[in-house]
């Protein structure tokens, strides 16, 4: 079946199986910034933005996004570079496998909250697992990004 949607501000048409999830459709179409880390919708590395809200592309049927807006890091290069800058400063980026998904969550967090508390930040990113960093450096980077402090 054909699905039309907006991917990173461009109209696209994907030919998909009815049961296909967006993660597989994107990777099949060479959009490899979106990763697969698990089979149970729990790790967050496949995060994309659906109409600006973070969702797991592994549990989103491609057939269900007709006409909707999907954003990956590829469509937000300037913003993601800024987040990456804070991560670099804090030494928060280790293997990086989870980082593209996490960056989208952080970008959405900034849009959604004006002045989130520490607990609200942690709650917002709790679904983005990371096995390398120990989270504290990520947390400091996120706080500096939200505060806009260079």
């Amino acid at each position: 079946m054909k699905v039309n949607f907006i991917l990173n501000n461009q109209e696209v048409t994907y030919e998909v199986d009815p049961g296909e999830v967006l993660l597989d459709s994107l990777r099949k179409n060479h959009l490899v910034s979106v990763k697969r880390g698990c089979d149970s919708s729990t790790c967050g590395v496949c995060t994309v933005l659906l109409n600006d809200k973070p969702v797991l592309s592994c549990s989103l049927l491609t057939a269900s996004i007709e006409g909707k807006n999907i954003t990956t890091v590829d469509g937000l290069q300037k913003e993601i570079e800024e987040i990456a800058h804070y991560f670099g400063d804090e030494g928060a980026d280790q293997c990086g496998f989870c980082n593209s998904g996490l960056a989208l969550t952080i970008y959405a967090l900034k849009k959604e909250y004006k002045h989130p508390t520490d607990e609200e930040i942690k709650h917002y990113v709790v679904g983005n697992l990371c096995r390398c960093s120990g989270y504290q450096a990520q947390f400091l980077a996120i706080k500096r990004y939200l505060g806009g402090a260079k």
Binding site: S40, A84, G91, G96, R131, C132
Partner: protein, 773 residues
């Protein structure tokens, strides 16, 4: 120093976060055949028959492999030195399956759906055998897990498969039994540590293709590309010159990718079909069919005089290697060799034990291997001893622990699988680490505990640890630096960046030596065709071993540059002053960029490259003191680690933030192991903890406060004074948390993980005892 010891962001973090293709599956050839593995549903069985006709008939199925179709060469998946200290006890596919998840057959098809359908059409008749699921019952059990012919050890490691022994070992210094007789206080305790799963975010991934010279090119998420090349060649009977292994960016390893998992199948499928293929493990497969940490039982007997001098340590370890003996002996030996020397003033030591086969997922390398298990037992035991001596646990440690310029005879006796290497602790700031940690955790304000309210108690606990920096005389790293036009450099290393930031740190070392900036040093790691050899990313070796190779190569190249400049400036090399960008001799000058362009394009042209290798002659241990503060709910047994302080001597931290990241990441993995991570099976040996839901790893909400500080030393044998920092962080949390829980509750937990349930049971038992009295 201009580049090392500076806060330099990783050279690749930005590009990766921005989504550039970097990882193995990002680089798979389009239209690769999809490989799926049929896995054993039984913990132990013999394949009586296997029928693949129906599956083979399915449209889109390109190849099916069973144990009838693959070369029968025994090998070990462990990527270690060669010959390996692990038994060659594995076949690519075998008529026996030895754990739930073991490989039965391999299917390659045009897409995932077809491959999965084909798996379901393979008919296997099993003779189900009685498994061994309790590792304490394994030795001389009526079940023999490896009854097959053709398996062997590479050199004596105590391999006795008919007794279910993958390895065994015995060492002693003086006579512990005699020394115990002269001790005033003796403690004798048994500890258990559980299997932990690596849970790196990128699943094990491999893809293969033939290049236009008909050579086999493997892309693998591996920590050991050169071992992969060798083992593939030895096992598949493909000439090693026909194999190229490329290691793209690896999405976390922690030892879990220090072995071959899918490589055999991708290589075979592509070699036989001549088509590109790929195998991406599902998360379930990562848990079910790769590696765990070795679970252990540790008996720890310690004797001391009444004034707190530790005189004898006797340690017996039983280790569960699961179905195959990967790293069986070495993990077990590290349990002694990187733990017992902490208390080096003893008169006598004995370290013995066995590593047994069971029908569990194979155990393998995992960050801090052996050390974290040994540390939990020893550092819990030291606190138990302190209490029995009525002594402060800090004082007991300070009185007995390793100090700078001291040594331990254990270093010479115990290596990794072989004899060790004698060495002096030229740098050891353990004492300073303890002092610093005490202050940062506000030990004296809390120790041993503080009642916060009716049911909440705050307490502190600590442990000390040591690790190593590579394996002396075994681990080799090499680096090539190429000088380019306009004056920038390529640094090619066999070392593997698996997320720890080694590409960045190695670039810093080269840049410092060449007096340039990191952006002028372009790092490429690693590709068996292009980069020089390196044993791989393990044993805390990259900064120390590979870093030394980079430093040597950079110094050599600098000498070459100065020689060229002297020729152009018509002077002698010793008269040239070079500041990284300009060569000066009296009133004559030439810039690096001018020199580069001249020797590239116009005058006596040549390519300058420098290659150097390094093998350690010792393994200088980093040291640390880990302190934790916990808050325990006395009514539920629930507790939080509210603060974890790490005071670390890793020599010179070459990149402060990256070193801190290594420590903090390891601390959180250690806290996970201490608190809740546990690989669990049902009674039939089926893995229950086979997803992120059933195997919980720490999340952002689990992490409260961490303070990491470095107590700098200068290790003269390391690059710019560095020792290692990759593993040591994981060692202290289990013991430090157990000690803190004891201070809070009076409950001594001797078996990991320290769950609220165990704590509560202990609290209730203590209460009951008191009521009874």
């Amino acid at each position: 120093m201009k580049v090392v010891k500076k806060q330099i962001p990783s050279i690749d973090g930005k590009g990766i976060m921005m989504g550039r293709p970097a990882f193995t599956d990002d680089l798979a050839a389009p239209d690769s055949l999809i490989i799926k593995i049929l896995r054993s549903p039984y913990a132990f069985a013999r394949i009586k028959s296997i029928h693949i006709d129906e599956a083979r008939k399915l449209k889109g199925v390109e190849l099916i492999l069973t144990h009838h179709d693959v070369p029968r060469n025994s090998f070990t998946r462990a990527g270690q030195g060669y010959p390996e200290p692990s038994p060659h006890d594995k076949f690519i596919l075998d008529e026996y399956v030895r754990y739930v998840g073991d490989e039965v057959a391999c299917v390659a098809a045009i897409d995932e759906k077809t491959a999965e359908k084909a798996l379901s059409l393979i008919k296997v008749e099993y003779e189900v055998l009685e498994p061994i699921l309790d590792f304490e019952q394994a030795i001389d059990h009526s079940t023999i897990i490896h009854p097959e012919e053709g398996i062997h050890e590479m050199f004596p490691i105590g391999f006795e498969p008919k007794r279910n022994l993958a390895a065994s070992y015995h060492m002693h210094i003086n006579n512990v039994d005699e020394t115990f007789k002269s001790c005033d206080v003796i403690i004798d305790e048994v500890f258990y540590t559980q299997a932990q799963a690596h849970s790196m975010m990128e699943p094990h991934t491999v893809n293969a293709r033939l290049d236009f010279q008909n050579r086999l090119t493997i892309y693998s998420a591996t920590q050991t590309p050169f071992h992969v090349r060798r083992i593939l060649s030895q096992t598949l009977d493909i000439p090693i010159s026909k194999i190229r292994v490329i290691k793209p960016r690896v999405g976390g390893g922690f030892g879990g990718k220090q072995a071959l998992h899918g490589e055999m199948f991708a290589a075979l499928v592509t070699w036989r079909t001549q088509k590109p293929s790929k195998l991406v493990y599902t998360r379930k497969e990562v848990y079910e069919s790769t590696y765990t940490r070795h679970p252990m039982r540790l008996k720890m007997k310690i004797g001391a005089t009444k004034d707190g001098m530790i005189k004898a340590i006797d340690c017996h370890v039983l280790s569960d290697t699961g179905a195959y003996g990967e790293h069986a002996l070495t993990v077990f030996m590290v349990t002694g060799s990187k733990v017992l020397p902490l208390y080096n003033k003893v008169e006598s030591v004995r370290f013995t034990g066995e590593v047994v086969y069971t029908n569990h997922v194979s155990a393998g390398a995992f960050r801090g291997y052996g050390a974290i298990q040994g540390n939990f037992a020893l550092e819990s035991a030291i606190d138990i001893l302190a209490e029995k001596l009525h002594m402060d646990p800090i004082e007991l440690r300070q009185q007995n622990m390793m100090k700078e310029n001291e040594t331990s005879p254990i270093f010479k006796i115990m290596g990794e699988g072989t004899e060790g290497t004698a060495m002096n602790m030229d740098t050891c700031k353990l004492e300073e680490c303890v002092h610093k940690g005490l202050k940062l955790i506000h030990w004296n304000d809390t120790y041993p505990k503080k009642i916060l309210n009716e049911h909440k108690v705050r307490a502190v606990g600590m442990a000390i640890a040591m690790q190593g920096s590579g394996i002396p005389y075994i681990d080799m790293g090499a680096a090539t630096i190429k000088f380019n036009d306009d004056g920038f450099y390529n640094l090619m290393v066999g070392a593997t960046d698996i997320g720890q930031g080694s590409d960045t740190v190695l670039a810093q070392i080269a840049a410092e030596a060449l007096m340039t900036t990191v952006d002028k040093v372009i790092v490429y790691s690693s590709d068996s065709d292009l980069t020089p050899f390196d044993t791989g990313a393990y044993a805390s070796s990259t900064t120390y071993v590979s870093g030394n190779a980079v430093l040597k190569a950079a110094h050599q190249l600098k000498d070459m540059l100065i020689t060229e400049a002297a020729r152009i400036l018509e002077s002698k090399p010793e008269d040239i002053d070079f500041d990284g960008t300009i060569f000066t001799c009296d009133d004559k000058q030439i810039t690096l960029s001018h020199l580069a362009n001249q020797i590239t394009y116009s005058h006596e042209q040549k390519q300058l490259t420098s290659t150097a290798s390094y093998v350690g002659h010792k393994s200088p241990p980093p040291f640390m003191a880990g302190f934790c503060e916990v808050e325990v709910d006395m009514e539920t047994g629930e507790y939080d680690v509210t603060h974890y302080v790490s005071a670390v001597d890793c020599g010179t931290p070459l990149n402060l933030k990256l070193a801190q990241g290594q420590i903090e990441g390891a601390i959180v993995q250690g806290i996970g192991m201490a608190k809740f991570e546990e690989v669990k099976y049902n009674k039939k040996g089926y893995l229950i903890s086979n997803s992120f839901v059933d195997y919980r790893i720490p999340t952002a909400q689990d992490v409260k406060k961490m303070t990491t500080e470095f107590v700098e030393s200068y290790e003269a044998s390391g690059p710019y004074g560095a020792k290692s920092v990759g593993e040591i962080g994981i060692d202290t949390p289990p013991a430090a948390i157990a000690n803190a829980i004891y201070h809070a509750t009076g409950v001594r937990i001797t078996s990991l993980p320290i769950t609220p349930q165990k704590v509560l049971e202990g609290i209730l038992k203590l209460k009951g005892d008191r009521n009874y009295e």
